[in-house]
């Protein structure tokens, strides 16, 4: 402890440079993690909100819920240990009909058609009647307020916002909740649409009737992994983060190793004087831990500051569990890096310290 700290104090510049490298990489890793988690969340927020276990769609849809068409008979034939709810899901583009340039106000959204009594409704005390909708808070950030009207591309219908729901995005786009009837009119663009919807969301476990050979049950997490680009994106980020942590271990390991080699003769003299390998090696490891600790704290602070300033621009989300795991991984890998140096210390021969 004593030796490790005194050296940090004495060789400030040298160690500041090493810390700077750790700060930059840890900042990048923490920030990437927050971004990756934020992005992944914006894909799945609306799904997580359901708190569901299973999703049922048609086999024909080939994992694409928008291409799944189901009727009342399908709904009746599904039995469940918990509750079930119909969901209509279709993308759309909304605009502000009062704007001078309507094209500038286009926003990509997803329309969710739900039954008023179902657990899919994000705000349970609001009733969806006619063209009344509950919209994601993203629209609030775009300037919409409760009572505002918006139009949709490809239709003359307009809709009125009666409330804003929190954390309800689907594939990064805000979700707009409406009654299933209204959704069907939008989906088929006719006042007398067929009574069809996209899928059934299940809380609990479900089983299909014998006539339901055309349906397929997905676990909710399996369904999420079929979302276009979701798996690829999570994999890309994860790979980047894992590699960055390994790179830190190498960079740090090499730095510490070079510093240790520079001090070979000093360590030799110390060993000749009877200072044990464990004290010298322990001090090398401790020093590594201090460097990592200081680097991670500064990197973490930078990440949080960036998060505060950029939260509205990029999908930045804090996940304490991920941070803890990454921090632990940093320490673990840095420890492995430092072991090379400890090994070098063990090999130093105190005999060389005494010439004659």
């Amino acid at each position: 402890m004593f030796l490790a700290l005194k050296e940090l104090k004495y060789s400030k510049l040298k160690f500041a440079l090493i810390i700077a490298v750790i700060v930059l990489i840890s900042y990048l890793v923490y920030f990437l993690t927050s971004l990756a988690y934020g992005l992944a969340s914006s894909y799945t927020n609306a799904i997580e909100k359901w708190n569901s276990d299973e999703i049922i769609m048609t086999v024909d849809a080939n994992d694409t819920i928008m291409m799944s068409f189901m009727d009342q008979a399908d709904y009746n034939s599904v039995t469940t240990t918990g509750t079930k709810a119909k969901l209509g899901l279709f993308p759309g583009v909304i605009n502000d009909p009062t704007a001078t340039n309507i094209l500038d106000t286009r926003i990509d959204v997803f329309f969710f058609g739900i039954d008023n009594g179902s657990f899919l409704k994000p705000i349970s005390n609001l009733t969806l009647t006619g063209n009344q909708v509950i919209a994601d808070e993203d629209l609030q950030k775009e300037g919409y307020q409760v009572g505002d009207i918006f139009g949709v591309s490809g239709s003359t219908q307009t809709y009125e916002i009666i409330g804003f729901s929190k954390k309800t995005t689907y594939q990064t786009a805000p979700v707009i909740y409406m009654s299933l009837d209204t959704w069907q009119q939008y989906r088929y663009n006719t006042p007398t649409p067929p009574d069809l919807y996209s899928g059934i969301i299940i809380r609990g476990e479900s089983s299909l009737g014998s006539s339901d050979s055309g349906l397929l049950i997905y676990k909710t997490e399996d369904y999420i992994s079929t979302l276009p680009g979701y798996t690829a994106q999570v994999l890309t980020f994860t790979t980047m983060i894992v590699f960055l942590i390994i790179i830190v271990a190498f960079v740090l390991g090499i730095f510490i190793y070079v510093l240790t080699i520079q001090k070979t003769s000093m360590f030799g003299v110390m060993k000749a004087q009877g200072i044990s390998n464990s004290y010298i090696g322990g001090s090398v490891i401790l020093q590594t831990f201090f460097l990592v600790l200081i680097g991670l704290v500064i990197g973490g602070i930078f990440t949080l500051l960036t998060g505060i300033f950029l939260a509205d621009i990029v999908p930045f989300a804090v996940n304490i569990v991920f941070y803890v795991v990454i921090t632990f991984a940093f320490f673990l890998f840095a420890f492995f890096g430092a072991l090379f140096s400890v090994n070098a210390v063990l090999k130093i021969d105190p005999l060389k310290a005494i010439g004659g």
Binding site: M1, F2, L3, K6, E7, K9, Y10, S11, S265, M266, V269, M270, K271, A272, Q273, G274, I275, S276, Y279, P350, L351, A353, I354, G355, G356
Partner: protein, 226 residues
């Protein structure tokens, strides 16, 4: 007088290819308290073999080393290392001061490693004796050669070892400074009842020593003085 370190029937062989080379012929050696002993000899004479065996850094092929009357050379590496830390002080050419510790911290390091209390009064006494009071908060790099060796002596004495090894303590010093350092070493050896074993090339320093040994081709002989 009490013998502090003894070598009894020690030899050291090195294997070089198919040949066995006897680097140190059978050697008996005793250093008593209060003695400053000089070891002289050309390089390659077995001087460093002698010193490293005495210091427990190498095992003798035959014979044994006793430190404070107790077996030393027979112990395992870790135990020897522990005893070195407590019972032997080292003054090496220049490098035994740790560059990133102040002179005061060099001494405190011993307390940190052994988890003992800092002996403040003894430390202050040493600072005064060796005239390093003003240097105690400086780093070795900012000291002159003489100052550094005085600090090294203070450090070697701080943990009150029974034996001090000084390896060319005057190597980088001019004559005046070298005399000062050796005189100090002689004085402290007497006062503190240590045995100091000093390896040196410097014949001028021998007048301060109680005994002078020469090593030639692995044979240690005491030089008779007039």
């Amino acid at each position: 007088m009490k013998p502090l370190i003894e070598m009894i029937g020690v030899t050291k062989d090195f294997i070089q290819g198919d040949n066995i080379i006897r680097a140190l012929k059978e050697t008996n050696f005793t250093a008593y308290e209060g003695e400053l002993i000089a070891i002289v000899g050309p390089s390659g004479s077995g001087k460093s073999t002698f010193l490293t065996i005495l210091g427990g850094l190498q095992k003798p092929t035959t014979g044994r080393v006793l430190l404070n009357g107790k077996p030393f050379s027979d112990l395992d590496v870790q135990e020897k290392s522990k005893i070195r830390l407590d019972s032997i002080g080292f003054i090496l050419q220049a490098s035994n001061l740790i560059p990133f510790l102040t002179i005061k911290e060099q001494m405190i390091l011993y307390n940190k490693i052994t988890k003992t209390k800092i002996n403040q009064s003894w430390m202050n006494e040493l600072f005064l004796k060796l005239d390093v009071e003003k240097l105690k908060n400086k780093y070795p790099n900012s000291l002159s050669g003489g100052e550094r060796q005085r600090a090294a002596i203070a450090k070697a004495l701080y943990h009150q070892p029974s034996v001090i090894f000084a390896d060319e303590p005057t190597a980088s010093l001019d004559t005046k400074k070298a005399y000062e350092v050796v005189k100090l070493l002689a004085k402290e050896t007497k006062e503190q009842k240590k045995a100091t074993i000093m390896v040196t090339h410097d014949e001028r320093m021998l007048e301060f020593c109680d005994k002078v040994y020469e090593i030639t081709d692995g044979v240690l002989t005491e030089r008779q003085r007039t």
